[in-house]
Amino acid sequence: MTLSTPTRWAGAVRASARTGRRPRPRTDRSALGAFAVLTAPMVFGLGLFKYVAIGWSLLLSLGEARGTLDPTRWVGLDNYRFLLADPGFRDSLLTVVLFTLFIVPVTFAASLALAVLVNQVRRGRAFFRTAFLVPAAVSYVAAALVWRMALFNGLPSGIANTLGGLLGLDPVPWIATQHPPLYWIVLITLRLWLQVGLYMVLFLAGLQAIPPQLYEAAAIDGASGWRMFRHITLPMLRNTSVAVLLLMTIAGFQAFDEFYNVFSGGLGGSHTAPVHPPLVYLYDIALGDQNYGLGSAGAFLLTLLIVAVTLLQGRITGLGRKD
């Protein structure tokens, strides 16, 4: 986790190469051959599935391509104009922005809190870590199934309604209720359950890298637990926090699985869902209507949005700042 190690080794290797202390056993030509053999599959694969794919898609986005992968007519920026004017697409962007604004702080706070708690205990630490991490191995489909059919099924015997009943609340149809939008609780808790463990592991690694002397010195000065958290733990977790926020935001913008499976789902079935994030919208356009031109344009608009948001976030959180 230390930043200095790789650079130090690289520096040593470079230095020894420069002084010629370690002669190369083969000529440059064999080095070139080995380099080509080892990197060729990766370069070819990324070339095909990223560069060719994105280039082709860019062409499609500027043309009319319905039910065919060859653009039939050049339409310039019409696809982009259509999407930006389409209330459906604009709503989907708004949906995903709202979703990300909700899910990121909630997941951040929950995973940091669990990491701090797990880090404090001696006995049972492995058990708790496993309990929080094991949902990360569950798919969104299986989680959506349990959330939709058991926890939030809307029956009086459903888990959420049973717990609510203990607090004196009436049973409600969680997924079907739009005013207020109770389905957000279903979507947020689902993703929280699946993701918290991953980020908790990252925070745990960050916590364990904090030198204990800092806390010992603060304890001698009589600092309270909260002050130590505020003035030692949080600043020392700065790099971890920046990375975690970035990962959470990018993942939030690409939400698809739970929106597809929690509501009625199926191709075209998503039209009955109260909210569609952009990937569901694009899926319906590309796979439902087979409109690859429009779908490609939407993919680029969404990419632009994600890149812009992450750059902005990097600016605000000071990603890569050397301090």
Binding site: L38, P41, I54, S57, S157, G265, Y283
Partner: protein
Amino acid sequence: MIRPIRRRTVTTLATYAALGLAATAFLLPFYVMLRNALMTTRQVTSPDWQWLPDPLTFDNFTELFSDPAVPMASALGNSLLIAGVTAPVSTLLASMAGYALARIPVPGKGVVLSFILATMMIPGSVTFIPTFVVVGALGGVNTEWGIIAPGLFNAFAVLLFRNFYLRFPAEIEEAGRLDGLGYLGLYRRIALPNSTSMLAALGALSFIDSWNAFLWPLVIGQDPSSWTAQIALSTFLTAQSVNLPGLFAGAVVTIVPLAVMFLVAQRHIVQGITMSGLKD
């Protein structure tokens, strides 16, 4: 001296109480899923809560595998094949490229590195339409290779392996050099056998991601014969005929293989998450 000790005891108790509550909440969905999978429809929908299925029934599992509408057996087989190929191959390809980029001095290496790393700027699932365009044109729709191929090339894993091999002590390779090994030999005989923990960590994560993938297999595997376990489960879930305990049995069979692997390889998985989350 008494007060601080007492306060510490109270804090410890509160910590355990909070952790216990949270762990119960996190494990509850697993319990509910198992409970419902082992019940009859009548028991699941009964308004009287039953903690444990009584009597226990395994019929949901036998029915699940004999239901012609949900080809769960072949879907599990497909998932096993897809994740079983993707995990080792993608990890190996990333390790090869990472080694070359870290240890072989050739001119123009920076260009290759930039070419590979630049692909990381585009968020993965957004590109499902461009990737569909290419895989579709190559005839990969409804095939296993169409589902597998785009997932074999992971630029981020290349970066992690490159960082790992940059740190690799030069002395270890020295012996091989003296034995007359070329770069390919050094990679295969020395670097690769010394990267087993990296391979296990990234391989385990890749297996989980591949097993749980949904959007891409949904896009490319439209025919039931190419469905993965996730697609079969999702189809079952969104179908109009609801067989409630059967659904939970379906969820159980898709989760159990991973849960077992997770408990066995947890150390590697934790290491993999830490590495991928915080690149050095």
